[in-house]
Every structure is written in structure tokens, then in C-alpha cells.
């Protein structure tokens, strides 16, 4: 008889949280956990609030992001046009290899600047001042 692994487990392990800190020239958004089709709507909602209330520039800190799928990438596309029209930008920083690979597979470096560290992203903003 064929057996199946079924979804009796309900507790989520792959959670996603977002925090942010304000710096002189940018909002720094820290992502934690797993950004997928389930959590992307929360990310979009939270990022919208941060952008509307904060600085024109956003630096996204990926250091603690374990996973991203195309749903997560799509959130950046939602905001990039408007934020650039307002003279700002979204800079991406501190990605782990597996997260960077998703951006890289689709060539997102064409549209977004990706930095090894948040400090380097901050420095780039200062140099543009």
C-alpha cells in the first residue's frame, strides 16, 4: 500500500520577520527567515509602510535571510520605479550565496546595486551625496 507524507504538522518553521532602523541617509531594512509566496505579501505590506514613512533611500540587509523565491524578488519590483522617481533608491546588501544566486539567475544586477555589506551600501550612498 502506497504511503504518503501528509501535512498534519501545522507549526511553521520557515518564518519571516522584518525590522528596520533609521540612519542619516537611509532606512535599513533587515530581513530574517524565509521569503516565499507565503510571506511575500507580508513583506510588501511592511515595506510599503517603511517607504511611505521613511527616507527616500532604502538599504535591504539580507544577512539573516535564509531563502528567497521569485515572490520575494517581485516585491522589490513593485517599489523600485516609484522610489527612483522620488529621487531615492533600493540598495541590496549582505546576501548569502543561495539568496544571491536567485537574483543572479535572472540578472537582477542590471536594475539593482548589490553590495557585500551594509556598510558598503551606506558608503555608496554617501559617495553619491
Amino acid at each position: 500500500m502506497l504511503r504518503f507524507i501528509t501535512t498534519t504538522r501545522t507549526a511553521r518553521v520557515n518564518t519571516f520577520t522584518i525590522t528596520h532602523t533609521h540612519h542619516d541617509r537611509a532606512e535599513i531594512v533587515h530581513l530574517h527567515g524565509y521569503l516565499d509566496a507565503h510571506t511575500a505579501s507580508q513583506f510588501e505590506r511592511d515595506l510599503r509602510v517603511i517607504i511611505e514613512q521613511g527616507d527616500a533611500h532604502v538599504i535591504v540587509d539580507f544577512e539573516h535571510l535564509d531563502y528567497i523565491s521569485s515572490a520575494g524578488l517581485g516585491v522589490f519590483m513593485v517599489f523600485i520605479e516609484d522610489i527612483r522617481k522620488q529621487g531615492g533608491d533600493i540598495l541590496l546588501a549582505a546576501m548569502r550565496d543561495n539568496v544571491f544566486s536567485v537574483f543572479d539567475l535572472l540578472g537582477f544586477q542590471v536594475l539593482f546595486r548589490i553590495f557585500p555589506t551594509v556598510d558598503e551600501a551606506m558608503a555608496a550612498l554617501s559617495n553619491n551625496a
Binding site: 502506497l2 516565499d36 509566496a37 507565503h38 531563502y67 521569485s70 524578488l73 517581485g74 519590483m77
Partner: protein
């Protein structure tokens, strides 16, 4: 493709996005004994996640009771993942691939899941439900590098 190549216990989930983490952990566990690099394994997990997420997003006719079933077979030559569903047939191979230069120039959003699957997997096959097989079958295959 015969069913008996799937020697790992299948995963059956309801078509809700909170189950994507179960899909990812199921696929990751299936690859632990393979020679695939961590990068290749991540790519395969991503492709299956995208395929299931796409199914959940677009299968508007799908009822919560209409489970998605994921099967994995690991052979010396390749890894094969089959995703079965009973929603309206949708062949992802028919979706026109985005020109990323145009995509970025026009700052579009969405529609990248299938593009990612194509970039990661070696082959994508799709068999819609029929009188003999009452479910759609999306079959993703990745060859082991040593078998290429």
C-alpha cells in the same frame, strides 16, 4: 514514465502557500545522499517551490481538498521530481519567457517563477490529466553533473 521509479515516500499537501516550507524540506531531504552540490540542491528546491507556488496561485478552481502530490526519484543519472494536481490543466512550457532586458526596462513585476524553473532544471515535461490518468503531471528533471 513509470510510477515505480519514485522510491521515496510521496508528499501530499493541501494547495495552500504555508505548505511550501514542507515541500522545500521534503525535496532537500531527498537530495541529502546525492552528489549534487549545495548550489544545485538549492536550485532544485527553488524550482519545486516555484512550481508548487505557481500551481497554488493559478489553480483558482482548486479546492482545498484537492491535494498536490510531490514525488521524487533519485537515480545515478538524475533527480526527477513529479508534481501532481487535479486542477485545470496548465502547461508551464507554453508560457512565453520574459526578455529580462525589457522586463527591467519596463520595471515589470511578477511572472518570474517559470523563468527560474527553466534556468535551473534540465528538462520540464507536462502531461495533462486524461481518461487513463486523472491528474496533471509536471515532471522536472536535473541530471547529475557527473552523468552529463
Amino acid at each position: 514514465m513509470s510510477n515505480d521509479i519514485y522510491d521515496i515516500v510521496p508528499l501530499r499537501i493541501s494547495p495552500l502557500t504555508h505548505n511550501l516550507e514542507l515541500v522545500r524540506s521534503y525535496i532537500a531531504r531527498a537530495m541529502t545522499s546525492t552528489l549534487l552540490t549545495s548550489g544545485e540542491q538549492h536550485g532544485i528546491v527553488l524550482a519545486v517551490d516555484e512550481a508548487c507556488a505557481n500551481l497554488m496561485a493559478h489553480a483558482v478552481s482548486m479546492q482545498p481538498s484537492h491535494d498536490i502530490e510531490v514525488r521524487v526519484a533519485v537515480t545515478p543519472q538524475d533527480i526527477v521530481i513529479e508534481i501532481r494536481d487535479v486542477s485545470e490543466a496548465f502547461d508551464p512550457r507554453t508560457v512565453e519567457q520574459p526578455d529580462m532586458a525589457v522586463y527591467f526596462r519596463e520595471m515589470r513585476s511578477g511572472g518570474l517563477g517559470i523563468a527560474l524553473i527553466r534556468r535551473v532544471m534540465d528538462t520540464i515535461d507536462y502531461l495533462p490529466a486524461s481518461s487513463e490518468t486523472p491528474f496533471n503531471r509536471l515532471i522536472l528533471r536535473k541530471r547529475h553533473r557527473s552523468a552529463s
